[in-house]
Protein backbone atom coordinates (compact mmCIF):
# COMPACT_ATOMS: atom_id res chain seq x y z
CA UNK A 1 0.00 0.00 0.00
CA UNK A 2 1.28 3.46 -0.87
CA UNK A 3 1.65 6.19 1.74
CA UNK A 4 -1.27 8.00 0.13
CA UNK A 5 -3.35 4.90 0.37
CA UNK A 6 -2.37 4.36 4.00
CA UNK A 7 -3.56 7.89 4.73
CA UNK A 8 -6.90 7.21 3.02
CA UNK A 9 -7.32 4.05 5.03
CA UNK A 10 -6.45 5.88 8.26
CA UNK A 11 -9.22 8.37 7.49
CA UNK A 12 -11.57 5.50 6.75
CA UNK A 13 -10.68 3.76 10.00
CA UNK A 14 -11.19 6.98 11.97
CA UNK A 15 -14.57 7.38 10.32
CA UNK A 16 -15.53 3.80 11.19
CA UNK A 17 -14.38 4.25 14.80
CA UNK A 18 -16.99 6.99 15.19
CA UNK A 19 -19.74 5.15 13.32
CA UNK A 20 -21.22 3.31 16.28
CA UNK A 21 -20.14 -0.14 15.13
CA UNK A 22 -18.89 -0.98 18.61
CA UNK A 23 -22.45 -0.78 19.90
CA UNK A 24 -23.18 -4.02 18.11
CA UNK A 25 -20.40 -6.09 19.54
CA UNK A 26 -20.49 -4.39 22.91
CA UNK A 27 -23.61 -6.25 23.88
CA UNK A 28 -22.60 -9.41 22.13
CA UNK A 29 -19.32 -9.38 23.99
CA UNK A 30 -20.92 -8.76 27.35
CA UNK A 31 -23.32 -11.59 26.74
CA UNK A 32 -20.70 -14.09 25.69
CA UNK A 33 -17.78 -12.82 27.73
CA UNK A 34 -15.38 -13.37 24.86
CA UNK A 35 -13.00 -11.13 22.99
CA UNK A 36 -13.98 -9.57 19.69
CA UNK A 37 -14.38 -12.20 17.04
CA UNK A 38 -16.89 -12.61 14.30
CA UNK A 39 -17.89 -15.97 15.71
CA UNK A 40 -19.74 -14.12 18.48
CA UNK A 41 -22.71 -14.25 16.18
CA UNK A 42 -23.59 -17.89 15.72
CA UNK A 43 -23.61 -18.94 12.09
CA UNK A 44 -24.47 -22.20 10.47
CA UNK A 45 -21.17 -22.28 8.60
CA UNK A 46 -18.86 -20.02 6.63
CA UNK A 47 -21.42 -19.63 3.91
CA UNK A 48 -23.88 -21.69 5.87
CA UNK A 49 -26.72 -22.15 3.50
CA UNK A 50 -29.41 -24.52 4.60
CA UNK A 51 -32.65 -25.50 3.08
CA UNK A 52 -34.97 -23.38 5.14
CA UNK A 53 -38.49 -22.21 4.53
CA UNK A 54 -37.37 -19.22 2.54
CA UNK A 55 -35.57 -21.56 0.15
CA UNK A 56 -38.79 -23.41 -0.43
CA UNK A 57 -40.49 -20.10 -1.12
CA UNK A 58 -37.73 -19.31 -3.58
CA UNK A 59 -38.45 -22.46 -5.49
CA UNK A 60 -42.13 -21.66 -5.58
CA UNK A 61 -41.35 -18.18 -6.91
CA UNK A 62 -38.78 -19.40 -9.38
CA UNK A 63 -41.36 -21.55 -11.09
CA UNK A 64 -43.39 -18.51 -12.07
Amino acid sequence: MSAKRDGANDARRDFLKLAGLAAVTGGALTASGKSAAASEIPVEGATGYRETDHVKTYYKLARF
Binding site: F15, L16, A19, T25, A28, T47, T52, V55, T57, L61
Partner: protein, 204 residues
Protein backbone atom coordinates in the same frame (compact mmCIF):
# COMPACT_ATOMS: atom_id res chain seq x y z
CA UNK B 1 -2.56 -13.38 -5.12
CA UNK B 2 0.24 -15.89 -4.50
CA UNK B 3 0.10 -18.49 -1.82
CA UNK B 4 2.80 -16.89 0.32
CA UNK B 5 1.00 -13.55 0.26
CA UNK B 6 -2.25 -15.22 1.18
CA UNK B 7 -0.63 -16.90 4.17
CA UNK B 8 0.90 -13.62 5.23
CA UNK B 9 -2.54 -12.02 5.08
CA UNK B 10 -4.03 -14.69 7.27
CA UNK B 11 -1.40 -14.15 9.90
CA UNK B 12 -2.08 -10.44 9.94
CA UNK B 13 -4.64 -9.35 12.42
CA UNK B 14 -7.71 -7.87 10.87
CA UNK B 15 -8.14 -4.29 12.10
CA UNK B 16 -10.60 -3.90 14.94
CA UNK B 17 -12.99 -1.72 12.91
CA UNK B 18 -13.08 -4.39 10.25
CA UNK B 19 -13.82 -7.12 12.78
CA UNK B 20 -16.74 -4.99 13.96
CA UNK B 21 -17.97 -4.63 10.39
CA UNK B 22 -17.78 -8.38 9.91
CA UNK B 23 -19.62 -8.90 13.17
CA UNK B 24 -22.46 -6.64 12.06
CA UNK B 25 -22.68 -8.39 8.70
CA UNK B 26 -22.85 -11.70 10.59
CA UNK B 27 -25.60 -10.43 12.85
CA UNK B 28 -27.66 -9.30 9.87
CA UNK B 29 -27.05 -12.59 8.05
CA UNK B 30 -27.98 -14.57 11.14
CA UNK B 31 -31.38 -12.97 11.68
CA UNK B 32 -32.21 -12.82 7.97
CA UNK B 33 -31.48 -16.50 7.42
CA UNK B 34 -33.94 -17.59 10.08
CA UNK B 35 -35.88 -16.09 12.95
CA UNK B 36 -33.64 -15.65 16.01
CA UNK B 37 -33.89 -17.90 19.06
CA UNK B 38 -34.35 -16.73 22.63
CA UNK B 39 -30.60 -16.95 23.24
CA UNK B 40 -30.01 -14.60 20.30
CA UNK B 41 -32.61 -12.20 21.63
CA UNK B 42 -30.97 -12.19 25.06
CA UNK B 43 -27.70 -11.26 23.38
CA UNK B 44 -29.29 -8.50 21.30
CA UNK B 45 -31.16 -7.14 24.31
CA UNK B 46 -27.82 -6.62 26.09
CA UNK B 47 -26.50 -4.32 23.37
CA UNK B 48 -26.03 -0.64 24.18
CA UNK B 49 -26.62 2.01 21.58
CA UNK B 50 -25.08 5.42 21.22
CA UNK B 51 -25.96 8.66 19.39
CA UNK B 52 -24.81 7.55 15.92
CA UNK B 53 -27.39 6.28 13.39
CA UNK B 54 -26.05 2.74 13.85
CA UNK B 55 -25.99 3.18 17.62
CA UNK B 56 -29.57 4.44 17.69
CA UNK B 57 -30.67 1.52 15.52
CA UNK B 58 -28.85 -0.87 17.84
CA UNK B 59 -30.57 0.68 20.84
CA UNK B 60 -33.97 0.32 19.17
CA UNK B 61 -33.26 -3.30 18.22
CA UNK B 62 -32.09 -4.07 21.75
CA UNK B 63 -35.32 -2.68 23.20
CA UNK B 64 -37.45 -4.76 20.83
CA UNK B 65 -35.34 -7.86 21.46
CA UNK B 66 -35.88 -7.49 25.20
CA UNK B 67 -39.66 -7.54 24.84
CA UNK B 68 -40.61 -9.74 21.91
CA UNK B 69 -41.11 -13.52 22.07
CA UNK B 70 -39.43 -15.92 19.63
CA UNK B 71 -42.84 -17.29 18.57
CA UNK B 72 -43.90 -13.79 17.57
CA UNK B 73 -40.77 -13.33 15.48
CA UNK B 74 -41.27 -16.74 13.85
CA UNK B 75 -44.65 -15.56 12.63
CA UNK B 76 -43.22 -12.22 11.57
CA UNK B 77 -40.42 -13.94 9.65
CA UNK B 78 -42.94 -16.17 7.94
CA UNK B 79 -45.16 -13.26 6.92
CA UNK B 80 -42.20 -11.25 5.67
CA UNK B 81 -40.25 -13.87 3.75
CA UNK B 82 -42.28 -17.05 3.31
CA UNK B 83 -45.98 -16.26 3.15
CA UNK B 84 -48.43 -18.19 1.05
CA UNK B 85 -46.59 -18.46 -2.23
CA UNK B 86 -44.39 -15.52 -1.33
CA UNK B 87 -43.84 -13.26 1.64
CA UNK B 88 -44.20 -9.52 1.81
CA UNK B 89 -40.59 -9.14 0.64
CA UNK B 90 -38.44 -11.20 -1.71
CA UNK B 91 -34.91 -10.86 -0.32
CA UNK B 92 -32.88 -11.69 -3.41
CA UNK B 93 -30.68 -9.24 -5.29
CA UNK B 94 -31.81 -10.39 -8.70
CA UNK B 95 -35.44 -9.89 -7.78
CA UNK B 96 -34.76 -6.43 -6.40
CA UNK B 97 -32.78 -5.31 -9.41
CA UNK B 98 -34.75 -6.89 -12.24
CA UNK B 99 -38.11 -7.97 -10.83
CA UNK B 100 -37.21 -11.59 -11.53
CA UNK B 101 -35.26 -14.30 -9.75
CA UNK B 102 -32.22 -15.92 -11.31
CA UNK B 103 -31.41 -13.06 -13.65
CA UNK B 104 -28.13 -11.42 -14.63
CA UNK B 105 -27.30 -10.03 -11.16
CA UNK B 106 -27.14 -13.61 -9.86
CA UNK B 107 -25.02 -14.70 -12.81
CA UNK B 108 -22.60 -11.82 -12.21
CA UNK B 109 -22.43 -12.67 -8.52
CA UNK B 110 -21.59 -16.29 -9.35
CA UNK B 111 -18.83 -15.16 -11.69
CA UNK B 112 -17.27 -13.01 -8.97
CA UNK B 113 -17.65 -15.75 -6.38
CA UNK B 114 -15.75 -18.12 -8.65
CA UNK B 115 -13.05 -15.52 -9.20
CA UNK B 116 -12.68 -14.89 -5.45
CA UNK B 117 -12.76 -18.58 -4.59
CA UNK B 118 -16.06 -18.48 -2.70
CA UNK B 119 -17.91 -21.74 -3.00
CA UNK B 120 -21.38 -22.70 -2.04
CA UNK B 121 -21.57 -25.72 0.21
CA UNK B 122 -22.65 -28.79 -1.73
CA UNK B 123 -25.76 -29.41 0.32
CA UNK B 124 -26.96 -25.87 -0.23
CA UNK B 125 -29.54 -25.17 -2.86
CA UNK B 126 -30.38 -21.63 -1.93
CA UNK B 127 -29.39 -19.04 -4.53
CA UNK B 128 -26.38 -16.96 -3.67
CA UNK B 129 -28.00 -13.56 -3.96
CA UNK B 130 -30.11 -13.92 -0.81
CA UNK B 131 -29.45 -10.95 1.47
CA UNK B 132 -28.16 -13.23 4.23
CA UNK B 133 -25.75 -14.96 1.84
CA UNK B 134 -24.38 -11.65 0.59
CA UNK B 135 -23.90 -10.41 4.17
CA UNK B 136 -22.06 -13.64 5.01
CA UNK B 137 -19.87 -13.22 1.97
CA UNK B 138 -18.94 -9.68 3.02
CA UNK B 139 -18.04 -10.96 6.50
CA UNK B 140 -16.05 -13.78 4.93
CA UNK B 141 -14.13 -11.42 2.66
CA UNK B 142 -13.28 -9.18 5.61
CA UNK B 143 -12.10 -11.97 7.88
CA UNK B 144 -10.58 -14.36 5.39
CA UNK B 145 -13.06 -17.22 5.71
CA UNK B 146 -12.45 -18.13 2.09
CA UNK B 147 -8.77 -18.84 2.55
CA UNK B 148 -7.41 -15.30 2.55
CA UNK B 149 -8.51 -11.99 3.95
CA UNK B 150 -9.36 -9.84 0.97
CA UNK B 151 -8.01 -6.35 0.81
CA UNK B 152 -10.21 -3.31 0.88
CA UNK B 153 -10.22 -2.93 -2.89
CA UNK B 154 -11.68 -6.41 -3.30
CA UNK B 155 -14.19 -5.76 -0.53
CA UNK B 156 -15.18 -2.45 -2.08
CA UNK B 157 -15.54 -3.93 -5.57
CA UNK B 158 -17.70 -6.76 -4.26
CA UNK B 159 -19.81 -4.39 -2.19
CA UNK B 160 -20.31 -1.94 -5.06
CA UNK B 161 -21.11 -4.66 -7.58
CA UNK B 162 -23.43 -6.88 -5.55
CA UNK B 163 -24.54 -5.37 -2.25
CA UNK B 164 -24.83 -1.59 -2.72
CA UNK B 165 -27.17 -1.72 -5.74
CA UNK B 166 -30.03 -3.17 -3.71
CA UNK B 167 -29.26 -3.88 -0.04
CA UNK B 168 -30.08 -0.44 1.32
CA UNK B 169 -33.34 -0.44 -0.61
CA UNK B 170 -34.14 -3.86 0.83
CA UNK B 171 -33.36 -2.79 4.41
CA UNK B 172 -35.51 0.32 4.01
CA UNK B 173 -38.37 -1.85 2.73
CA UNK B 174 -37.84 -4.19 5.67
CA UNK B 175 -38.03 -1.30 8.12
CA UNK B 176 -41.31 -0.14 6.59
CA UNK B 177 -42.92 -3.53 5.90
CA UNK B 178 -46.41 -4.06 7.23
CA UNK B 179 -45.43 -7.26 9.04
CA UNK B 180 -42.23 -5.86 10.57
CA UNK B 181 -41.79 -5.35 14.29
CA UNK B 182 -38.49 -6.97 15.26
CA UNK B 183 -37.46 -6.80 11.61
CA UNK B 184 -38.20 -3.08 11.48
CA UNK B 185 -35.27 -2.77 13.87
CA UNK B 186 -33.16 -5.06 11.71
CA UNK B 187 -34.04 -3.00 8.64
CA UNK B 188 -33.13 0.25 10.33
CA UNK B 189 -29.80 -1.17 11.49
CA UNK B 190 -29.05 -2.60 8.07
CA UNK B 191 -29.85 0.66 6.29
CA UNK B 192 -27.68 2.67 8.70
CA UNK B 193 -24.84 0.20 8.21
CA UNK B 194 -25.11 0.34 4.41
CA UNK B 195 -24.75 4.14 4.61
CA UNK B 196 -21.61 3.77 6.70
CA UNK B 197 -20.13 1.15 4.40
CA UNK B 198 -20.84 3.30 1.37
CA UNK B 199 -19.20 6.35 2.90
CA UNK B 200 -16.21 4.42 4.30
CA UNK B 201 -15.48 2.77 0.94
CA UNK B 202 -15.76 6.13 -0.81
CA UNK B 203 -12.81 7.37 1.27
CA UNK B 204 -10.42 4.90 -0.34
Amino acid sequence: MGKATALLHREHDVAEEDVLRANLYRLLAHVLRQAPKQSDLDMFAAMDGDATPIGEAVGALARIAGKIRPETIDREYHDLFIGLGRGELVPYGSYYLTGFLNEKPLARLRTDMARLGIERRVEVREPEDHIAAECEMMAGLILGDFGEAFDLDDQRDFFKAHVAPWARHFFTDLEAARSSVFYAGVGRLGAAFMDVEEEAFSML
